[in-house]
């Protein structure tokens, strides 16, 4: 053997390899403030075109809630050069797909297109940004669409009011006290002028990130971006809402009577924002408690005690604050009080006993798999790049954020369980059938 160390050095090299191929991207700002991120991946002739407007329900005023989500709908009504209904028709008849979504912090539009239709997608997004059609016909149409969406997805869904009920108790000052669907009374009362003002204020290049990923030629793409976006005038500087919210200051417990048959309990613990260093340990704590059939809640409540039909938890992390939500649906005669007490017991174990190496490794494996799979499509990459830029100020976290999870130690998970998952920091909602009222 010429080099006895070759085998060893190869092993070392493979252990030091990055988790996956780096997502390469370039970014720049147009003079009007539009931030642009481009990622080239020519594997498949597909392109994802997305625009993230940094406006969500937290940018609304208390008497006009639901505006950002309403705009998610309204800005499909057409533009000066795109007729009513044509947004969908143009994209779909050209082999593409499109959608949009709204959160507490953003409104996000995207098209997935055959890559030879990139210019079409850019033209359409620029039309939306420059001169979307905001008129009484469109407002009246979309108001009914949004009302129907609320009836279908909130009013007619068991438990679906829980976010509204949770957030209005978990927050007293911050605009997170209402949720994106907002109030239908506010939408009814809003005038056309108010909608136009909201558009001019927030759906402007200096409040937007254009993120494109897929089968593109960088120079051609820049040329199209200049052609369609450069002349869109910047809006006024966007005023951001205050992040202030005092601590909860004591446990809040309430009962909601809903159109349900199976009682459930929802516990929401106030926690930090998604960009806070503790967010990573909280995510791993959540994985330990609730991710998969081998998680602690599931093993205890579904398998062993058989008190719950289903148990789940997720850290609902937003730009300014977060709520760690744990929930359980009762099995048989189990009461919601019992479910809450059992979840508390499992939380207490997390607080008082250190994690074993084996369980900690499992958490890290799960987190790594989840992280890697987020970049499995060009659509996912475009969205992740935009989110990391807007919320974290660093699009390269698309590659490097996993290191922040790897810095988390078992003791950190124990610490965040102690710090955040305590009774005085939570809202507990007991969901009971209306017949029990």
């Amino acid at each position: 053997m010429k080099n006895p160390f070759l085998g060893v050095s190869l092993l070392l090299a493979s252990a030091a390899l990055p988790l996956s191929a780096q997502v390469k991207f370039e970014s720049f700002d147009l003079p009007n403030g539009l931030h642009v991120i481009l990622h080239q991946d020519n594997s498949n002739p597909l392109v994802a075109v997305s625009v993230l407007y940094h406006v969500g329900s937290k940018n609304e005023i208390p008497t006009r809630t639901g505006f950002a989500h309403f705009f998610e709908h309204l800005l499909f009504e057409g533009s000066e050069n795109i007729g009513r209904g044509e947004y969908m028709q143009l994209i779909q008849s050209n082999g593409g797909a499109l959608n949009a979504n709204t959160s507490n912090d953003r409104t996000f539009y995207y098209e997935l297109l055959p890559s030879n239709q990139l210019e079409l997608g850019l033209w359409m997004e620029s039309e939306r940004m420059l001169h979307a059609k905001i008129d009484q016909v469109g407002v009246d149409t979309q108001r009914e669409v949004v009302k129907e969406e609320k009836r279908q997805r909130v009013d007619n869904q068991p438990y679906a009011s829980f976010l509204t009920e949770m957030f209005k108790r978990a927050f007293t000052q911050h605009n997170y006290r209402w949720v994106p669907i907002g109030s239908m009374d506010d939408l009814n009362a809003a005038t056309l002028e108010e909608f136009m003002a909201f558009y001019k204020k927030f759906y402007v290049p200096n409040n937007a990130t254009l993120s494109i990923a897929g089968d593109i030629d960088i120079e051609d793409t820049k040329r199209y971006i200049n052609k369609y976006f450069r002349d869109i005038p910047a809006g006024a500087t966007v005023q951001r809402p205050s992040a202030f919210e005092p601590p909860l200051g004591g446990e809040i417990v309430d009962t909601i009577y809903d159109n349900i048959q199976i009682p459930a309990v929802f516990a929401g613990y106030r926690m930090v924002s998604e960009t806070h260093p503790d967010a990573y340990a909280l995510q791993m704590l959540n994985t330990a408690l609730s991710d998969g059939p081998s998680s602690r809640f599931s093993k205890r409540m579904v398998d062993q005690d058989q008190s719950a039909l289903q148990v789940a938890a997720f850290p609902f992390a937003m730009e300014h604050h977060g709520v760690f939500i744990a929930l359980a649906l009762a099995n048989g005669a189990a009461s919601t009080g019992t479910l809450m007490a059992t979840m508390e017991e499992e939380i207490a174990k997390m607080q008082n006993e250190p994690l074993s190496d084996k369980e900690f490794t499992k958490l890290l494996n799960k987190v790594e798999t989840e992280f890697v799979s987020r970049n499995s499509s060009v659509a996912g990459i475009a969205e992740n790049l935009a989110n990391y830029h807007v919320y974290y100020g660093d699009a390269n976290l698309v590659n490097s954020e996993i290191e922040r999870y790897r810095e988390v130690k078992p003791a950190d998970i124990q610490r965040v369980a102690q710090t955040y998952l305590k009774p005085e920091n939570r809202v507990v909602l007991h969901y009971l059938p209306k017949s029990a009222q």
């Binding site: 988790l19 996956s20 191929a21 594997s43 498949n44 002739p45 989500h69 998610e72 709908h73 499909f76 000066e80 050069n81 143009l90 050209n94 959608n99 949009a100 979504n101 709204t102 959160s103 055959p114 890559s115 030879n116 239709q117 990139l118 210019e119 079409l120 850019l122 033209w123 620029s126 039309e127 420059l130 969406e149 994106p180 669907i181 089968d215 052609k227 369609y228 002349d231 991710d291 998969g292 289903q310 789940a312 997720f314 609902f316 939500i325 929930l327 798999t369 989840e370 890697v372 799979s373 970049n375 499995s376 499509s377």
Partner: protein, 89 residues
């Protein structure tokens, strides 16, 4: 003469700064032929046919029925879903 030059240069500069005619819809560029996958095919001694596709984009591997994208738990997806125009398929 100067006037003519001035007029010419005005025409030229107007052309250079011509407003984009936004009513003109972009047309499709030539379509690319997709290469779905390069694969190897071989048989084991026991007759089992193996199809192998190399793709090093993600550090994951899977056999026939699995998806490269890890599914998220359904309850979590339902509960954290953001408001969308239509139900995601």
């Amino acid at each position: 003469m100067n006037k003519i030059l001035l007029a010419l240069s005005l025409v030229a500069s107007a052309a250079a700064h011509a407003q984009l005619d936004r009513s003109i819809r972009p047309t499709a560029a030539p379509a690319r032929t997709p290469t779905i996958a390069q694969y190897q095919k071989f048989q084991l001694q026991n007759g089992l046919t193996v199809l192998l596709v190399e793709d090093h984009k993600l550090p994951s591997a899977c056999s026939e029925s699995c998806s490269m994208k890890a599914p998220r738990p359904t309850a979590k997806r339902l509960l954290t879903k953001r408001w969308t125009l239509s139900e995601p398929v």
